[in-house]
Point group: D3
Chain length 139, copies 6
């Protein structure tokens, strides 16, 4: 069993505001991230794939297949986008990077089988880095 | 003469759209950056200060003075902000990173004298990194 | 369950010398790190916090709470300090980065409950990077 | 139990071509990596060592011992080398970075006991980064 | 006048051997880089473009034009290639990174005019990083 | 003319205290860096060498010669050292990174001729990075 972690990047904007909280609570909880006009980040996404090596090719997965999957499920929708306005999941979810990680994981899992068409490789987990100081991991 | 380059970070959103161009030209010139909902970046700002060393302290400038200046002129306005909506300069300028560099340089130059109160140090130039692939320099 | 890893930095000096060993053994075991005048590093500290998301805020923890905790327990004592002379734990422990990681972990655990006042999030582990070549992990 | 991860670098060339596949399949599976003239990378190797601290020294391992082991088993053979032509394992294995990770792990494990001469530390796992986008982990 | 520095990457292999020198001198001058089987690197290329801003777009150049130029002149020939065998310039030149920088500069200059079709932007210089320790600059 | 920038690292401790200033002024000017017990950094040193290429070797300088020079003049004295106590220049100079850059430049210049034994390459300048936020350049 080998793990491959492959890195992707996308730039997006978001605003953190929870409808369940009052305006004052929102300002307290999210601080500057509650700014009504939004702000943005260069997100770094790491996708970890794990499985046994293919005996012929010596590879855990074909990176072109993984790239196609991540492009279709994540980059085409989120790169150079406004997460609050342009991603359907964030109509009902606050686009914290925690929720962004869960949404990306769900999108990859739903499309995984039809992309790889085999038992292996499996999705080992994902990491989303919002800034140099904050990284979120979901597995 | 020594140069000190000091690094700062801010996260902001923007949309590139030039009023002088048609919608079609805007899409062609700016590509995904023309998305009407905007997107964002983690900007890295490097400010270069140059001058002779102070004979007593062995320093080219007091970093606390520089930090105060950059915080007041740049970070307080641009960090966790929407450049199009919240910076007055971008009411009439497209917030490309080229223009952002020029705006930051101008803000620092106007406040420089009252911050440092001496002939030295001088502002040697600034650099703004928009993504790992694109860095803009103005001097 | 989501993990957030948040990064901090501090600069400190130390000298490695074990009282249980002879001077010659100390020089052999620690090499240049045994230099009686000490030396120093820019330490990078990563604190991993894990837990379920808060249903309202979509966050695993309030980063302001974590920052306050790490500042009080670690940065105020260790940043721009001499670990051998100014940290009580290193009166009886050699300030190797292994021991530094254990000390930081203990300080955070003791203050954790009163900082977060809930069952979650929990401290998932810490990492201390001494130089680009050496990183220590404790969990 | 503490983990130390120590980083090494080597530059090497390789060509990916599986004898079990036809020339067309090789081009399809490996893309540009199948180029008959080869290409190369700056590989980053991270070796993770784990164990309890030595009570006297406060260290999980002597880094000089680990460096000697990695130099003899890996760097002397692979740095500034052509993996296909100069490493015996790749006479029968395709030098994908997956296989390279397994080969390095095997070399370290076989020489580990005679290098450390004790029960601890143990080899916790290795990571090989081929490019900024691809990292392989084996444990 | 603004400078934009845009980053590209390519992975290639090479062998350093000067026909004007004896085998012994080659080994002495180039060390491990003289290995007859070659080795390789992940090269990082930075291209600096300079000029005034376009009054309408607020840009120093269209990054898509620059990307097309660098892809055609550099990446298509050098990425995943063996510089000694597959680049015509290195039939008569030793593929040191110094010479690689001069070759890339020449290729860009010759194609520059037909790519940009205007007086500005101009090529401000290039940098090629061979490893984390060595960067070469030509302007 | 080509420039080669080569990177080196050393870890050292220092304390900033100017004898020409009162204790209170020292605390005000240097802040936490005035801590009487000292602190430390991982310094990154970049040495830029410039000159024409040697027609036979295609190199601007022999990196082994440069490494020997930097090791003898800088690393052997400053790595894992206390700058205030162990470097003669800092008996009379405050070891700010500005002064450190000037001292390193002077040491390299004095030994340059006897190391390279020719007109070229010349020392183009040096940069010393104290932390990720502060870099000092002298030329």
């Amino acid at each position: 069993m080998i793990k491959l972690t492959r890195a992707y990047r996308f730039s997006a904007s978001h605003r953190l505001h929870a409808p369940a909280l009052s305006d004052e609570e929102n300002r307290e909880v999210y601080g500057k991230c509650n700014n009504p006009y939004g702000h943005g980040h260069n997100y770094a996404l790491e996708v970890t794939v794990e499985g046994p090596l293919d005996a012929d090719t010596g590879r855990v997965c074909n990176p072109a297949t993984l790239d196609r999957l991540v492009t279709q499920c994540v980059l085409e929708n989120f790169d150079h986008a406004n997460l609050n306005e342009q991603a359907e999941e964030f109509q009902s979810l606050v686009p914290t990077t925690e929720n962004l990680a869960i949404v990306i994981d769900g999108r990859l899992r739903r499309a995984w089988k039809s992309a790889f068409e085999r038992e292996w490789p499996r999705l080992g987990g994902i990491r989303v880095r919002e800034t140099k100081r904050n990284t979120f991991e979901y597995r």
